[in-house]
Amino acid sequence: EPVRIFAGSSPTFAPVFVADQQGYFKEEGLEAVVRPFPSGAEAIEGFRSGAADFLVAADVPLSYLLTGGDVVMVAQFSQSSHFMVVVGPKEKMEAADIKGKKIGLVSKSAGEYMLSRFLDSKGLTLNDVERINLAPFDQISALVQGDVYAVSSWKPFDQKMVQLSRGEMIPAAWNGQVGFDIYSGIVAKRELLEKQPETVEKVVRALLKATKYLEKSGGVEANAADLAAYLKAPPADVQSVLETNKWDMHVSKDFLDGMKSVGQFLESQKLIAAPIDWQKAFDWTALKAVDASLVQ
């Protein structure tokens, strides 16, 4: 029985792909099947239908899974202040320009949170715009063809938007700028954690090796080349994401605070029915077992 790991296909989730590519899962004696999805939001569905044991995504989509109590987060591993971007027409992204406009995003992705924070910084709320659910690549077409006014998305799609609009569209803000870092992590079914804690530990250990590899190996360029081959994506795109990512599996206070504000956001927007019980949402036992110093 192979362990099935679903993930968003963004290079921000690199440790999973690196662990697969470098054979770290095998070293742990695991047979792992890693499957990238166009977005974390889409990977959720595969996970929910029971087709996967682990899911890797950004903090926002993961939070949707944490509401039920049957899924727990077992580790986080990346942090970025430049991952999420709002892209819109050059010099026309003030409150008055944006109000009432259509904004493209992947619903249930971090794009929704990013948009909320961005609007906040302009003195607006989500209710002031019309959100249009679009797959990342459709956001590009929609923006360039004028079907939406702006989009809230993530790297590297911003670059394609700039290119294809011949510079008409540019990033108006990124997540660090509007006051939050974005994290990614891995969740597992609670049942799995309870019945086969060693499997979870093995996965976490493989991921830890991968984050260390990403920090120490031949540099961003070499990493990007490897990862591009794995993801069948252009190296430049991959590199642009890796450049602004930090890999670290320490459970930090910033991370916990970040997750809580995501939770509050989802709740306040009625995107989730009940508040997330953070006591039950995290389970760091596997992480502790791998390296007790990672959890304070």
Binding site: A41, E42, I44, E45, R48, S49, K108, I132, N133, L134, A135, F137, D138, S141, A142, V144, Q145, G146, D147, V148
Partner: protein, 252 residues
């Protein structure tokens, strides 16, 4: 066996299917994966009272109608040109043969890229399929306008334009109608293709989006409404054919 007994048997078979479905749903016990018939009815009620399903149906239907009309007209014109003008047919039939093999869903990404996520993209994808289907059958009819009809026109001394609309066009009608009838089903295939990847409204989107939240009851409602609307369009088309055209054009 009488028609009445056949109908009874069909009804019984349908009923037993619903009962078996209910039993299966109950014994599987995963309403998020296999909803019971009752759940589906509940979901339908909810979607009806919220107006959501009606709105989606109207949106989807509007797309089909516009795409169908565009593709139908284009198909009749293309079919007649390819059928009647040998040089054009010989030159472009290979191109058309390649074009007709392209699944509509494969076109969605480029069409979206070129025309954005608006209605135009959906119209074009639907129109494309309708165009292919209608062209194929119109072409046959146009190519095979009986020689003796054209000769009758020759005797009478009709000019090219008069020959086109007094002899060729009416001769082609029954063939074009076959294509147009088949195209109704294909238009719905194309609609779903367009709505499954790259739509934020319509029945296809209800099916696709409900999947994310494991709302299979909503998915089943979406499927049934889609099938129902498709079947009704088919029936309406055939009715129209029978009432308006059958006597003159011997169809149906």
């Amino acid at each position: 066996m009488s028609g009445f007994r056949m109908t009874t048997l069909s009804t019984l078979s349908l009923c037993s299917f619903v009962i078996m479905w209910a039993i299966a749903a109950g014994s599987i016990g995963r309403p998020d994966l296999v909803p019971s018939p009752l759940q589906v009815v509940e979901a339908l009620k909810g979607m009806l009272s919220s107006g959501e399903i009606v709105k989606a149906t109207i949106t989807s239907l509007g797309r089909v109608v516009v795409g169908y009309l565009l593709g139908g007209v284009a198909g009749v014109v293309t079919g007649i040109i390819l059928g009647r003008i040998t040089i054009i047919r010989e030159s472009f039939s290979i191109i058309f043969d390649v074009a007709k093999g392209i699944p509509p869903i494969a076109l969605v990404p480029v069409v979206i890229m070129w025309f954005g996520i608006g209605e135009m993209s959906k119209w074009l994808v639907i129109a494309y399929v309708v165009w292919v289907v209608v062209t194929i059958s119109t072409l046959v009819g146009a190519k095979e306008v009986p020689l003796i009809r054209l000769r009758t026109a020759e005797i009478i001394g009709l000019g090219p334009l008069e020959r086109l609309y007094r002899v060729v066009l009416p001769s082609v009608v029954p063939y074009a109608l076959i294509g147009l009838r088949n195209a109704v089903g294909f238009a719905f295939v194309a609609l779903v293709s367009a709505e499954l990847i790259g739509a934020n409204s319509g029945l296809g989107q209800i099916i696709m989006d409900s999947r994310f939240a494991l709302q299979t009851d909503r998915m089943v409602v979406g499927i049934f409404v889609l099938g129902g609307v498709g079947a009704i369009c088919q029936i309406l088309f055939e009715l129209m054919e029978r009432l308006i055209l059958a006597r003159r054009f011997q169809t149906g």
